[in-house]
């Protein structure tokens, strides 16, 4: 069944050939995951797509098993999670894998997004690929938020209250929307029920969008650290075994860090308040989301007006949908963008500052810091990016990937 670039595969196994003639799944796998020509110059940032996929599968598998033992009832939920931890065989393992897995799924996806930003992976002809990625991020955030509500701890309850209340900022129909979301006049049992149903549903929608993301990726192939298109076979290697093995190595390293947290510090990334059962009569001193939502929470709180805050928070993510058209530079990779390269790092620091502000109560110097960082975030995308693309003089691009790789070897 060997085949080189382009030629349709021939299957020696009669059963495989019979099936493939009627449903070409083997040809498809051969074409898309074996011979698929992939730029030969990926660095380790290109592992994070595979890592994120592994985390998604891991979250779905652990999540389904958890769901078979969980009670989505406001009176039972907290104790049922503890019952999973104490009485279900290896339940503690499933629960901590799922809980820590959410953090590491986001970490992988954020690094994946950074890779896209730095190497210009969102530019033509990969705009739809990028936009589907933004949709995945939004779905992940919704899923993570609803999943966090399920243990029915204090932070679950009050997080749900704060976030659902955001919709009350919508003029005229806001209050009705919030009542509709809650299924009542406060966060309660109906809210928990529907969040559980949606938390079970959305991951499969994520799988669907990931499939589209991969289909779109395989139309024009992956971007690469040089941001130039492969010009021929000398610039590419077959996806398997070159990148399957490299991804395998990257996945192992990532899983080591993930396992270290899961087994030795499973609660380090969580909030202690979520080990206190939800109590509608006692508000925690501070209501904060998990770390991966903190930058957006900081943007929400930085704006003195509620509706404005909600618009800016959602806008900060929706903005990414139009990123391919905000960036006016024709050069993809920051390797050849001497000025913009540094502003990508400034943006990363800006988002970290936002995250830091989001973790603290909005008082003292956190308020001006969060406002400044929010302003800079929008300045980066709306002003800096379009203007810099026009005035920056990119470095000369190498003539081909192979050329650049060989030149570096010679040095």
């Amino acid at each position: 069944m060997a085949s080189s670039h382009g030629a349709p595969p021939v299957f020696n196994n009669k059963v495989v050939a019979w099936i493939d003639h009627r449903l070409p799944i083997f040809s498809y796998m051969e074409k898309e995951y074996h011979t698929f020509p992939t730029p030969r110059n990926f660095n380790y940032f290109w592992n994070f797509g595979a890592i994120a996929t592994v985390m998604l599968v891991l979250m779905i598998v652990t999540g389904i098993v958890l769901a078979t033992n969980y009670q989505p009832n406001a009176d039972l939920a907290f104790a049922s999670v503890e019952r999973i931890m104490r009485d279900v065989p290896s339940g503690w393992l499933l629960r901590y894998m799922h809980m820590t897995g959410a953090s590491f799924f986001f970490a992988a996806v954020y690094i994946h997004i950074f890779r896209g930003l730095y190497y210009g992976s969102y530019k033509a002809p990969r705009e739809l690929l990028w936009m589907l990625g933004v949709v995945i991020l939004l779905l992940m955030m919704a899923t993570a938020f609803m999943g966090y509500v399920l243990p029915w701890g204090q932070m679950s309850f009050w997080g749900a209250t704060v976030i659902t209340n955001l919709f009350s900022a919508i003029p005229v129909v806001g209050e009705s929307i919030v009542t509709w979301l809650w299924g009542g006049f406060a966060v309660g049992n109906p809210t928990l029920n529907r969040f559980f149903a949606l938390h079970y549903l959305l991951p499969f929608i994520i799988v669907g969008v990931v499939a589209l993301h991969v289909v779109a990726l395989h139309v024009h192939g992956s971007n690469n650290p040089l941001g130039i298109d492969p010009k021929g076979p000398q610039d590419t290697v077959p996806f398997h075994p070159y990148y399957t093995m490299k991804d395998g190595f990257g996945v192992m390293i990532f899983l080591i860090i993930y396992a270290a947290f899961t087994f030795f510090a499973p609660n380090a990334l969580g909030d202690v308040n979520n080990y206190i059962q939800a109590n509608p009569l006692v508000t925690p001193n501070e209501i904060v989301p998990e770390w991966y939502l903190l930058p957006f929470y900081a943007i929400l709180r930085a704006i003195p007006d509620k509706l404005g805050g909600v618009i800016c928070m959602f806008g900060s993510i929706l903005l990414l949908l139009v990123l391919p058209w905000l960036d006016t530079s024709r050069v993809r990779s920051c390797t050849f963008r001497p000025i913009y390269k540094w502003f990508v790092f400034v943006l990363v620091i800006d988002v970290l500052v936002l995250g830091y502000c989001g973790a603290h109560p909005p008082e003292g110097w956190y308020v001006p810091a969060a406002r400044l960082a929010t302003t800079y975030y929008f300045f980066h995308f709306l002003i800096l990016l379009p203007v810099l693309g026009k005035i920056e003089r990119p470095l000369p691009l190498p003539s081909s990937i192979a050329d650049a790789v060989l030149k570096k070897k010679a040095v």
């Binding site: 503690w92 396992a259 995250g355 973790a359």
Partner: protein, 266 residues
């Protein structure tokens, strides 16, 4: 100075950033509080285990002192076997408690607890607990060590952090508005705590002859409550060490395979 440059610098940068992130979320709200007493807990770290003898003494304290007000409702009596008690000892402990049940004829009965029963609560419900304790129910202790910033150090700090009214400085009395009947605790947020000092030198008599100082009692009960919060910690640590060793070996193997596959492509 092109591709490698960014990669080599970025990965540590991202790691540092993530660490700063998590530190940011953990280290909150500790202003103008004295630092928690540092105690060398044997269950900390990847190879940590519980001190069975200390945890058993801690259970004695829970049973004789804490359980008058605090429930431990997520635990069953059979869980005590995890502390090294035999099935018969557990049966005996459970049988000391009378629990409500429904008899074969459908009438309400009281029967001795069985090992499969959850720990008996000191009050029938939260309202009764609140009514008997000045308006606020004492918290359940099942996961208390995981539910407080500082964990075991915090609980130990509370138990050993009481200062009698006549030992307080006039500034403390003024700043925290302490009255003669208030309980002042160094480590409680706001310092005025509803719970009167629960432990003191000689509060319990240990059967194993351990000296019953306040520090000893507090440390023992924290060992017990830490076990109660995380009864599978030892299995978790053991599994973790094996999983990481496996992943390290697997990563080494994958790296070798990757090198071999790429040897002709470079």
């Amino acid at each position: 100075m092109s591709i490698k440059f960014s990669l080599n610098k970025l990965i540590p940068a991202v790691a540092v950033a993530l660490a700063a992130f998590s530190a940011g979320t953990i280290a909150t709200a500790a202003e103008d509080m004295p630092p928690l007493p540092k105690h060398d807990w044997g269950f900390k770290g990847p190879f940590g285990t519980y001190d069975r003898a200390a945890a058993q003494r801690g259970f004695q304290i829970y049973k004789e002192v804490c359980s008058a007000c605090h429930s431990l409702e997520l635990l069953s009596y059979r869980d005590l076997e995890g502390l090294g008690l035999t099935a018969n000892q557990v049966k005996g402990i459970a049988a000391e408690f009378q629990v409500s049940d429904i008899g074969d004829d459908g009438s309400a009965i009281e029967r001795p607890a069985r090992p499969s029963d959850h720990f008996k609560k000191p009050f029938p419900n939260e309202l009764a607990a609140a009514a008997a304790n000045g308006g606020k129910a004492p918290p359940d202790l099942s996961v208390i060590v995981k539910a407080r910033e500082g964990g075991p150090d915090y609980v130990y700090g509370i138990l050993t952090g009481y200062v009698p009214y006549d030992k307080l400085t006039p500034e403390q009395i003024k700043e925290f508005n302490v009255k003669k009947d208030d309980n002042f605790n160094l480590h409680f947020p706001g310092h005025r705590i509803a719970m009167p000092q629960p432990l003191e030198d000689g509060k319990v008599t240990y059967v194993d002859g351990t000296k019953n100082t306040l520090q000893q009692e507090a440390s023992d009960v924290v060992e017990f409550l830490s076990w109660a919060s995380e009864p599978h910690l030892e299995a978790r640590n053991r599994t973790g060490v094996r999983v990481i060793l496996f992943l390290l070996a697997m990563a080494g193997l994958m790296y070798a395979v990757k090198r071999a596959v790429w040897a002709d492509a470079h």
